[in-house]
């Protein structure tokens, strides 16, 4: 086996320039493929980041103002959700995992801890809300059923809020009290928003919010996570939801302004579909580039076989079988494409790695929007394996025709070919 490789290397050594030139086209092909696929991954990560905040199959319902007269009622009526809407949907809407109503307290409620204070929007939610919107808890827990039922004055905030309010103390925030307006709330949990690490959010139980801040039984909007896995299923749930609410609030089912429904699964799938298209396109371009490389290698190998007609004739005259000639030419081609491709692979990976580092430092340096466009471009292990297989195949294809030609060389003709 070692012998066999030495035989090939000794030929390749004679023609360094030719081998390098041949290899370059393959290197370039693989390099481009890796760069393209890596960039594709980067775009994909960016897209995923856009959806990181909400569970992928969620529906958000906002109340609006009717635009059509319906059932003897004039257009322009404001629709208001209450706890009854929540109860109704809980009872009647099928295919639902979690529902949470939301209510916002006015922005001018000041949040204070000792001498520090800030103004952030306080959102009142239900215990199920953390199953609809993803939160990375660093300390403590989310609002639970007991908090909700017993109107407990508890609060859950994001880390940046803690960083601001407790910047002068090293206290453990859990169990500490902050004041919302003049009412103290106990901090029970601290989390990070995976979508935006700087976002400042303050959550209290909806029941507490309604009671303490005179919210009555009002709900501003509803967040629903569904069991649906397809857009069609999610769409069906959306339609059902629209019907239920239209009946209750007496507006026309096709009144788009009465309630506004944001179906994230639909968006996600749309983006995913578009993305699958891009991905396919990238693969096609990559494969085409490699094919160009294969044709290049094949061409050069054919010329090479012509150049080596005499040598092959000699080999055959002294006992080389046709299969050993095929092996010789094929291995040479596979070796060239293999090594060249590997170089291209490494270069491509290297460029992606550097790009990743640059983008990461840009994001850390405050260019957070990069997160949503392009981040972590990388060619994963599978791509590397696929590319390697493509390479070996490319070498075989590139070498096959020339090798066949070489094996068919008749020693007499070759030897008389002066």
């Amino acid at each position: 086996m070692i012998d066999f490789f030495e035989e090939i290397f000794s030929t390749l050594k004679q023609n360094k320039l030719r081998a390098i030139m041949t290899g370059f086209s393959v290197s370039w092909g693989i390099f481009m493929l890796i760069i393209l696929l890596g960039s594709g991954k980067g775009l994909e990560h960016g897209m995923e980041h856009n959806f990181a905040g909400a569970v992928k199959n969620s529906i958000w319902v906002y109340s609006g103002r009717t635009a059509k007269a319906h059932n003897g009622l004039k257009a322009g009526r404001t629709i208001r959700f209450t706890n009854e809407d929540y109860d109704l949907l809980r009872r009647k809407l099928n295919g639902v995992d979690n529902i949470s109503g939301r209510l916002y307290l006015y922005d001018d409620i000041s949040i204070t801890y000792k001498n520090e204070y800030a103004n952030y929007r306080v959102t009142c939610v239900m215990p199920e809300f953390n199953k609809i919107e993803t939160m990375d808890f660093t300390k403590g827990r989310f609002i639970n059923q007991n908090d909700y039922k017993k109107f407990r004055k508890v609060v859950v905030v994001t880390q940046p809020v803690i960083d601001l309010l407790m910047k002068n103390t090293k206290d453990d925030p859990i169990g500490k009290y902050i004041k919302l307006g003049s009412i103290p709330f106990e901090i029970v949990g601290v989390f990070n928003d995976p979508e935006d690490k700087t976002s400042k959010k303050v959550y209290i139980p909806l029941s507490t919010g309604q009671k303490v801040f005179n919210g009555g039984n009002r709900i501003r909007n509803l967040a629903i996570s569904t069991q649906a896995t397809t857009v069609a299923e999610n769409k069906a749930i959306e339609t059902q939801l629209r019907n239920i609410l239209a009946k209750r609030h007496r507006f026309s089912v096709d009144d788009e302004k009465a309630i506004y429904v944001n179906n994230t699964l639909e968006h996600f799938k749309q983006a995913q579909g578009a993305f699958a298209g891009i991905k396919g396109f990238i693969w096609i371009i990559g494969i085409m580039t490699i094919i160009a490389g294969i044709v290049g290698v094949s061409n050069i190998m054919i010329i090479l076989v012509k150049e080596r007609t005499k040598e092959i004739g000699i080999r055959k005259a002294i006992g080389a079988s046709p299969s050993s000639v095929v092996r010789l030419i094929l291995s040479e081609s596979v070796l060239i494409t293999g090594i060249a491709g590997f170089v291209g692979l490494l270069l491509g990976m290297g460029v992606l790695f550097i790009l990743d580092k640059i983008i990461t430092s840009m994001i850390e340096g405050g260019a957070d929007q990069m997160n949503y466009i392009f981040n972590h471009p990388s060619a994963d292990f599978n791509i590397a394996v696929t590319a390697t297989l493509v390479l070996i195949l490319a070498g075989l294809i590139a070498g096959y025709m020339p090798a066949k030609k070489a094996a068919a060389i008749k020693p007499i003709e070759a030897l008389h070919d002066e």
Partner: protein, 238 residues
């Protein structure tokens, strides 16, 4: 069993080029015994190279029979032909046909590569044969760095390394000057003395005179088959 190493019976061979058919060999019978040194002579177009190619299983014949070491060689696969060539036959060519990018040693060792002899062993054997040809110091030189006589000696060493029964030499001295030609013939005679059959195709009478038997071909048939009583090489030596 006979002591023939190469035997042909009523051998016919035609080359077909388009509509024309060229009848090159028109029924030839030759019987060469093991250990003989034979030359085949004839003007160009007499069919002597074709005959040698058939002997070397480099070409097929149309009719008749060819027995190499009493084995009938008829149409066979390339792979099998390669094995036969490797086992029985050593070639020497007018233009040496050494592989230009391989050193003398690598060229000599190549037939053993196709017999799957490992590198260390085949290089050692190749060195032995080069030494016999007086080219030990030249083992790491490329063919382009050697003279014609040296190249032909490398080619002879390569032909001998697989321990063939027959050496087929196609105009082995055609590209050499007279002095070197006789040196090469001397070596071929030494080879023959070790019991290997040597068949030389030539058109030079004095080269043919170095062999024991001369077969003269003319227009595809044997014109004469004469035994040399006093091989010329002795005269040169004396």
């Amino acid at each position: 069993m006979s002591d023939s190493i190469i035997r042909i019976e009523n051998l016919h061979k035609s080359y077909i080029t388009g509509k024309n058919s060229l009848h090159v060999l028109k029924g030839i019978d030759i019987d060469i015994k093991a250990g003989e040194m034979v030359s085949i002579m004839g003007s160009s177009g007499s069919g002597k190279s074709t005959l040698l190619n058939i002997f070397g299983i480099l070409d097929n014949y149309d009719e008749g029979g060819y027995y190499l070491n009493d084995i009938l060689i008829s149409k066979m696969s390339e792979t099998k032909a390669a094995r036969f060539r490797n086992k029985y036959i050593g070639f020497i060519f007018q233009s040496f046909n050494l592989i230009s990018f391989k050193t003398a040693l690598e060229n000599v060792a190549l037939p053993l590569y196709y017999q799957n002899v490992n590198r260390k062993k085949r290089n050692a054997i190749a060195m032995e044969y080069l030494d016999r040809m007086g080219l030990k110091e030249w083992s790491n030189h490329l063919p382009s760095e050697m003279s014609g006589g040296q190249k032909q000696r490398v080619a002879i060493a390569r032909a001998l390394i697989s321990n063939p029964k027959v050496i087929l030499a196609d105009e082995p001295t055609g590209a050499l000057d007279t002095k070197t030609s006789y040196e090469v013939m001397e070596i071929l005679q030494e080879v023959n003395n070790t019991g290997i059959t040597v068949i030389i195709v030539t058109h030079e009478t004095d080269i043919a005179q170095c062999t024991e038997r001369i077969i003269r071909l003319k227009d595809g048939i044997i014109e004469a088959n004469e035994y040399v009583t006093n091989p010329a090489i002795e005269v040169v030596n004396g």
